[in-house]
Each structure stands twice: as structure tokens, then as C-alpha cells.
Amino acid sequence: MLDARAIEKSFATRSGTLTVLAGVTLQLENGASAAIMGPSGSGKSTLLNILGTLEPPTSGALQIDGRDPFTLDNRELGVFRNRTVGLVFQDHHLLPQCSALENVLLPTLAGEADPAAPRRGRELLERVGLADRSDHRPAELSGGERQRVAIARALVNRPRLLLADEPTGNLDRRTADRVADLLVELHAGSDLILIVVTHSETLAARFAQRWELADGRLERQ
């Protein structure tokens, strides 16, 4: 379960403190999926970074499966994120020097060696429809294929929380639909919590809950 309460995030600027998130509260049960929408600069990515434990909130509490990740030290936080959170970015951030399969397996290198990881990686590539492209480098893949590799990478450690930041933002409509299909398909029947930040109404409509972030506050639509 994801339980974010009264999350605040502010930044010091030359002209004073800028509050981006002003008490965001969000609770999602296992297996839930949600889309977060909002105008540019509303703090969607900041919220996603906090939920993904990439940066701490200024105040507020976050618990994922009953644990507050920000009480952990850097190393423990890394392990926690590696095991619990899967991230999909607008810019897929694949390592250009690695093949598709190697990119998928990248998170498995952060912890102890897992002999089952390669098999799991291949299965995931198969599930995202890229079994025949596993040896291809990112430069040899299309935008949609790269994003599918990124999704497979996000799932390789069987996370509890999958966060996608504008996963279709850089894709054409058709490809975007396919990636959306894939996300829905992968989520269906699992107890994975899926949160997608998007500008796209179409994409948002594919998920059970839709939230709007405006003026630092999160409102359910």
C-alpha cells in the first residue's frame, strides 16, 4: 500500500521560498492504478520523484508497504528503491552501450547476483513484445521499443510500485497507445501499484483513478 500524507516540497529561490507541493495526500491500495495530471510546473514530476524516493519531501510522510523510506540511509534507500520501486521516464534513459536485455537486467546489478534474473529479463522482453530484439542496442530500436525496454527494466525486480513519468510524452499517438496498452496489460491482475504522470487525457482515462495536481494540491477527479 502507498500512503503519502501531507507531502510538502518547497525550494529556496533568489526571490524567496517556492512551494511546489503544499500538503499532498495520496493513498493507494495494492493493485491500484492512478493517473496524475496537471499543468506544466504544477509539481507532478516532483511528486513522482518523492513517491519514487528519489528526493525527500520538505515535510509530510510517505509509507510504502508500511515502511518510511526516508528514514533509511543512502545505501538502504538505494536497496529499498531497487527492490520496491520501478521507474519509467519520459526519456527512457537506456544505456546506449548496452543491449535491450542488458538494459532490462541493469537493476539486478545493483544488489546481490540473482541467477534467475536473465531468465526473468527475457520473459519480460517477451511480454513487451521484444523477444527478438533482445540483443539490439537502443540506437537500433524505435522510440516505442525503447520505452517498452524501459518498462521491462522497471519491472525486472518485481517492484511494489511502478511510477511512470510521461511515458508516452515523446511518442507518436499510435506508439503511445501501444505503450499505454502495455502498461495496462502488465498491471492487470497484479498487486502492483501503478502511478502514471501524464498530460494526456487519453492515457489518464486508461487508469482506475485520476488525480489533478494544481496549486500544490492533489484533487481526485
Partner: protein, 1130 residues
Amino acid sequence: MNRSLLLRRSLVYHWRAHLAVTLGVIAAGAALTGALLVGDSMRASLQANALGRLGRVDQVVTGPRFFREALADELNPSVQALAPIIMLRGGVSHATSHARANQVGILGVDDRFWALHATGPTAGEMPRGSKAILNRALADEIGTQLGDAVILRLGKPQDVSVDTLLGRRDQMTTSARLTVVGIVPAEDLGAFELNVQQQTPLNLYVPLEALQRILDQPGKANALLVENKPAAGPLADALAAHVSLADYGLTLRTDAPQGYAALESDAFLIAPAFEQAARQAADACGAKAESILAYLANRITAGGRSIPYSTVAAIPADGETITRLRTPDGAAVHLQPGEILLNAWAASDLAVNAAARVELAYYLSGAFGRLDVSTSAFTLAGTVALTGAAADPGFTPPYPGVTDVRHLADWDPPFPVDLKRLRDRDEHYWDEYRTTPKAFITLADGEKLWAAEHEQHGRTTSLRLWPQGATDLATLSAAFRKELMSRITPAAAGLAVVDVRAVAKEAGRGSTDFSGLFIGFSFFLIIAAILLVALLFRLGAERRAHEIGLLLALGFSPRRVSRMLVAEGAVSAGIGAALGLLAGVGYAKLMILGLRTSWSDAVHAPFLHFAGTAQSYVLGAAITFCVALPALLWGIRNVRRQPASRLLAGAVEAATTRTRRPARGAALTAWLAFAAGLALIAATFFTTAVSAPLAFFGGGSALLVAGIAAAATLLGAEICGTGFQTGLPTTHHTRALLRLGLRSAPRHPGRSLLIIALIASATFVTTAIQAFRMAPADDLTAEHGGTGGFTLIAEAATPLPYDLNTPAGREDLNLAPETRDLLQRSTCMPFRLRGGDAASCLNLYKPTEPRILGVPCAMTHRGGFTFAATEAATAAERDNPWTLLDRDLPDGVIPAIGDEASVMWQLHSGLGKTYTVTDQSGQPRRLRFVALLSGSILQGELLIAEDRFRTLFPAVAGHAYFLIETPPADADRLSHLLETDLEPYAFDVTSARERLADLYAVQNTYLSTFQLLGGLGALLGSFGLIAVMLRNVWERRREYALMQAVGFSQRALVTVVLAENAALILGGLAIGVAAALIAIAPRIVADAAHVAWGPMLLLLAGMPLFGICAAAAVLTAALRAPLLPALRRE
């Protein structure tokens, strides 16, 4: 997929970035390993050169005295091979062309010498007679070919010191005409030389027997060359076992009729050390020892009558001899101080009775052979019968030319004798009694009158031994000889065994640690390379910000990500360090080529060759790798500190809004470093505890840090918005553009600071080095300058016994009238010289026994030269630090002055520190540096007061080193005349200005090397700057595209970007120049006249101009690329 695969993939994919890092590490490795290899090469070359000149000689027995050549045969069973030789310095000129070479090594050798040749053919059989073999260097110097005749001029060995009355000042030099029958290459024994120096020695080889004849030293040598036998015992033991009294110039004469044995010396006076040992030996034998001091009275006068030229014996008032003297009536005699006994012949001649006043007139020798007639009056205590103990000519030791002549009229003493005063009765006395004393005074009176002035030479002319009890004279003599020999070690007697091979090896290590020196020279190059490595790695890491952010986002810990990045860098560094070894070989070979060609002024060592040790290769690679690693860590420091979310967003620097804490920390650092630097530099004005190098390097570095920290503060303030930023002026277009550019400077504070640091360091190094370049001052007559106001420097292979400053001395030296006239207008400052290794920067070898000069009182009173530091405590001492030489220091320590450069770099000592030298008797004597000269012609010499010099080196008589103060217009002519007139002394004159220029050339050449390598470092640093500039342009291409899109011309764009970079360059320059000028302030204050201001100002003006032009060129080229596509991507 595993981590090593990821590592390999990353290495291959980012090969360009890694290649750049590798190249940077190669540059650092090349400079570092190259410097170590230069050190290896210098050491190996110097050692090979020094050892090569020794042939197979391992040890040498040498000293100031001649000894029996037969000693070699006696020692032969104990050693492998042995060659007695005569080894002196002299002058050689071509008999026809008169081309002359001074300071030539004159070697009297035979086939035994050439048998010690190490490699290749020897000179063949050594000829006999008046023949000579020259080495190639000497043959070339005077243009000699086989069959030519050469004139050899050299000093004649003197048994009796010319400082004493009986010294043969008139026979100090000798010459011979020799035919050149061979020319040998100047290598191996053809370059035989004991004083280690890099200059090829000029050698002339004369048959041993011929040189013995020329020097009037039949059957004698002054050195034994020894090749060790593997199983042989210590040579010193063998020498001690075979050496005899004759080898020490001592004779034990027995006079059976008189019943005593007498120890006498070829030096006429028995050296104090020998006398002391002899007294101990006598005690051990149970003999009664008694000193006798015989002297010549020019006149014994009483009652208006006088006797010319008589021996007077000073005997102990309570000794054995006086008990054996009898009055004509057979009664015992007594003698008290102030009393005199005349023998019956003299008493009769003078017609005096007891209690009469008897006056003795005698010569006393003063400085430069000056003879003063002195008189002393005594009361006649009685008359002794001219029989028995009184009728003994043995009171006077043998003296060639006096005691061995048949007639009194045949006397040939080294002082004037008025033969007209001799009467027939004097001749009769001589015929019958020879040197039998006509008068006796107490030993105490004799010592006071005749020995006090030269007591370092001895106070006794013979030591009489009287057997006691039943011991007979023969038994006593044998026992005494044995006891005496056991108490005199060859080393204490001046016959030192020198392990010349060990000395050469040690000296070959060099006076300077060349590895350290070249690491110092290459320091900025190494630092620049390392900074470049850090910078390139940082830029590479920043380009991979997304990748790093991703890894962090995927749960990789920051430490693991760092490790992965550093592992990649380490592979590049490892490859770079390995390849750096190869580049280091090239670098070292280039340096050696430079030292043999362009920089030869610094080392004068054409024999330098490349040689590397495994240790240097391993050390070079290891240090390079170890130095590169922190650079890599620093390179990723910035990205490692960023949160994953920022890295994923492509941000590589800290957030644009910062707290003020780092800026405050930098400000504190700036103030602390500034205060520390200033304090260190200021301390040199008030205390000698802070050395000049410490003040310069320590203080300069601190000021540099202060400046860079201040820049960091300013950049931090800009980021905080509290700096000098103001609104963009709207009325002045160019100023607005410049302001716009300036605002960009703090955007990447790390990079900006790096640029400032690099520029500041480069400026500091080049400015400071330029300030240390020296040029001889124009006014050579200035007493307080590098020449001390002296125009000429002269050195004689044979010391001059007379004074060049007096008409009498010039006459005794037989100078031409023109020379005398010119000298009349000049002042010659004569120094005594103990030869040795030059401790100047012209000598690369480590001096083992440096040259020592005895400073005359006249020089101490005159003063002159510039002092870098002194221990002067009083106003008088500060006014003339030379007077410090007269200080009495505790524990027998002797005050000394040396040139700062020699003392610091060659002798590795300093002001107030002691340095140990070996005196004539092989004893260590401590000198303390009470003052240090600055940039003087006396570099290479240790200076002590002349009276102390005479105590340390009594055998060094006469003066061999001269500083001549003459009008510059007369200098050339006087120089020529002196060399011609004083050719028998191998008198060599050089211009003080030229000597100073030679010395400065060494320093300036080293500085050029430093500057060149510093320049290479700056060049390397500039690659980094270009990389940073290009990176900045690339990162902001969208920004620039926007500006172009809104109508900025390319020129305006360049102005904006240039303003940013020019601010950094000028900031760096200002910091570097300010730090350098403050750091060199002590040098400028002390010696502003020698600072080459013109080139320095040119450098200061040129550097910013060059930097800004280069930046403009790079930026113009970079901004010429089309920018609008970047905007479209946005």
C-alpha cells in the same frame, strides 16, 4: 549481464572520453617518469664519467708530502697492482706557438700506471727521458702534434714551508722542455683525475723518473694508485705496516759519541703532531726527550764587536744537554730566561765577560716572504768550552745549501747573506765546527722569539732522546722508532688512503637530486596534466549525468556508482600510466638532449646519456596511477553529490540557489591563507629561521590559495545574488553585452574556479621564475655587487710567495715594468687556497672536499659583495659581515662564509649550520656559516680567515687565488701581462664579469628549463580551458541559438561569451601576478639590480593578451557552427 561486462561496454562506448583521460594520464606519467629517468640518467652518466677516469684504480694513497717510491714495491704483495705516480698541477705551453693551458694535471707515471688502464689499448710503453704524452683535450687546447715540443711549468715541492725563514721562495717553480711522443684519448686513464668534475681534464704524462729529476725528488712519489686484490686486507693496515719514518720526512739520527739520538725533519721544524707522538714514544721507551730549536743569528754583538751568521741553539734550561755543557774550567753551567751562553770561541771573539750585554740580530719572516731583522738582548750567563756536548754541529738539522757546503762563502740560504761580512776566522770556525752553535739561550726564549709566528709548522728543530739507566743508544733507537711508528698513523701524517671508486660513486650521485629537480621543473606540467585528467573525467561524467541518475534511480548506491565510474577511469589511468612509461623515456631523452645542447650552459656535461632503472619505471607508473586516482574521484565529485532526480533532468552542477555557508568557508580560507602567506614572506625580512625557498614556495602557494579562495567567494556571492551584479544597462550596448557575459561566469562555479586556478598557477610560476632570472649588474666597480668591485679573478697552479701589491714583491716576482705600472694602479687581494672540489653550480658532482680560501685581513677590512643573510649582531658586523670571520666560536668551530647558492644546493647547508671539512692531518674540522653571499663570483669557494686557514692547512704556503681590483680599461692588458709574466706559476686570469655571467647562465638555464616545462604545463592547461569553453558553448548552444534568433550578431555573441571567459582569465592572471610579486618581494628588495625587469613586464603584458586572443579564436570558431537547429530541437 554482470558488472564487468557493463564496465567493458562503458569503456568501449565512451572510448573518446576515456581516450582523453588516458592521454592526460600519459602526459602526467611522461613528465613524472621522465623526471625520474632524467635523475637516473644524470646519476649513471656522472658515475660512469667519474669511474671511467679511474681505469682499474680502486684506491689512492695521497697527501701533501712526497714519500718513497719504493713503498710501492713493499706494498705490492698486499695488493693486486700498484703504481707510484707524481700528481701535480701546472701549466703547459707550446714551445713554438706559446699557446698555453693552465691548471693542467701533470702526472709522472711509468708502465705500472698504464697497466691499470681499464679498457682498450694503453699508451704503450712509457718513454724515458724528456718526453711527454698528452691527452687529446690538452693537445687540442694548445694545438700540439706528435714531435712538437712543449714547455712544462710547475711548482717544486718544498720540504720547508715558504712561510718560514728557511722556505725556498726562490725555488718554487721549475720548468722543463719535453717532446710530445704520444697523444692518448681523453678517456679512461687518459682522463685520470681525482677531483670529480664533469669538465674533461687536461693531462700531461711525463716519465716518472724524468719528473722526479725535474722536481729534484729522486726515488719519490706523491701518490700510489692501487687496484684491490679480492682477498687483500685493508690497504690502510698494509700501508701502516710498511710506511717508514722517511715517508713522513723524519730521520732518527744517533750520535754515539754524544750519546743521544735525535729526531729531525726534512721540513726543518718537526710538526707538532710528530713532536707530540715522539714525546709519547720516548716516554714509552723510558727515554728523556728534549726539544732543541736551532736558529740563525745574523749577528751576535757585544761591546761593539760582532760575529756574523752564527747558529744559536735554544735548549731547555733543565734538560740533559745543559748538564753536559761545561765552562772552560770544567764547571757546570746554568741558564735562565733572558740569559745567553757563548762558547769559548765566540766569547773570545767578542771579548766579553760574564754579565755582559749580548745582542742577537736575526731574521723573522713575515707575510709574503718579507724578512724583518729583529734584535734581542741577553745577559751573558757564562762561557762554555767548545768541547764535548758544546762542540756538536748536530744541534742544527741538515739543510741543503747550508749545512752541506764546504765553505761558509758557499752558503746558499733562501735569505740575503752579506758575504762581505765574513771574516777568515769565521771560515776557520766553519771548517772546524760547521754549524756548531756559538751561543745557547733557553728553549722558552727561543720559542718566543722564533717559533711563535709559525707554531703551526712546529717549535722544534730536533728532539733529542737520551737513554736512561742501562739502555744503550742502539736499543733505544730501535725501540723508539717502533713506538713512534705505532703512534703515527699514515692518515694523521697526511698519507690518506682514499677509496676513489667509492668517492666517485658518491660524488656521481650529484650535488643535486636531479630526479627531484626535474620533478620540480615538471611540477606544473604534472599538476596541469592531473588537473586536465580531472577536468576531462569530470566533463565525461557530466555528459553521462543521465546515465548516473538512472543508475541511482534504479537503486544503485552512490558509492557503487562512483566505484563503477572510477573503475572505468582506473582502467584508462592504468593504460595511461603504462603508456606514460614509454612517453617518459621519450621525455627523458628529450631533456637529456636539451641538457647536452640548448641547456648545456647549466651542466657542461656532453657525456650525458640515457639510463633508466627498474625502480624509476615502477615508481613512475605507480605514482602516476596513484596521483590520477584522486583526480578521477575529484572529477566525479560533483555528479556524485547530485540527487538522481537532478541528474536525470541533466543537471550537473549544484542548484543555482545556494546557501551562503560555502562562500563563507571560502572567504575564511582566503583570509587565513593570505595571512599565512604574508607572514611567511614577511618573516624573511626579520629572521633567518625561515629560508628563502620556504618563504617563496610556502608563502607563494598560500597566497595563490588565498586568491583562488577569494575568487570562489566572489563566485559564491554572485550565485547568492550578493555580488557585484547590477541590472543590465540599457544605454550602453557593449557594456550590456559584457555584463551579460559576466553574469554567466558563476553558472558553473567549479569549472570557472578551475579556469581561474589554472591561469593563476601558470601566471605565478612564469612570473616568479622570470623574476629569478639574473643579469650581471652593469657597474662592475660597485663593491656591493656580484663581483665585489673586483675586475679580475686569478688562480695560480703554484702559489705565489710574494706580494703583488708591493714594489718589492713585484720585483721578486720579476714582473715586467708595464705590469708593475698597471699593478701600481690596482689592488690584488691574495687568498690562500686549499684545492678540492668546486662547490659551485658549475659542478654537477657532489663535492666531497670543497675548495677552501683563506681570507686575508685586508679583505676582511675592505668588505664588499652582497650578502643574502648574515649572523651579524652588531652594527659593525652588519656594516661589514666579513668581520664575522674573526669571531671566536665555541668548541673550535671556525666561522665561514659561502655563496648562498653553493651552500644551499651544493653543500645542503645554510646560515648558522655547520659543515665538516678535513684538515691537513685528516682530522674533521667544523665550519659554521656565519654569512652567505648573494650571487657572487665566489660561488664554489668556502671562505675562512687566513690565520685559521694556516692552522688547518699549514702545508699550504703562499697565495694561489687572487681578486684583482683594477680600472676596467686596464683589465684586458693586465690580464695578458700577468699570465705572461707569471707563466712559471701557471697564472690564469679571468674576467670577473665573465665568471659571474657563467654562474648566472647556469641559474638562468635552469630557470629556462623550469619555465619551458612550466610553459608546457600551461599549454596542457590551456587544452583543459579549451575543453571547458567548448563544453560550455555546447551546453548553452540553445541559449546562444535563442540569442541569435532574436537578432544578436555573431560578433555580439562572441563578445558575451568572451566577456565571461576573459573575466576568468584576467581574474586568474591578477591572482597569479599578485601572489608572485608578493612572494618574490624579498628577492626584489635584496637584489633589485639583478632582476630582469624588461622581459618580466613583457611577459606580464603578453600573457593576458595571448590568453584572451586564444579564447576569442576558440569561441569564434565554436560559435560559427549553426546554432538554430539546436533551438529547433528545443
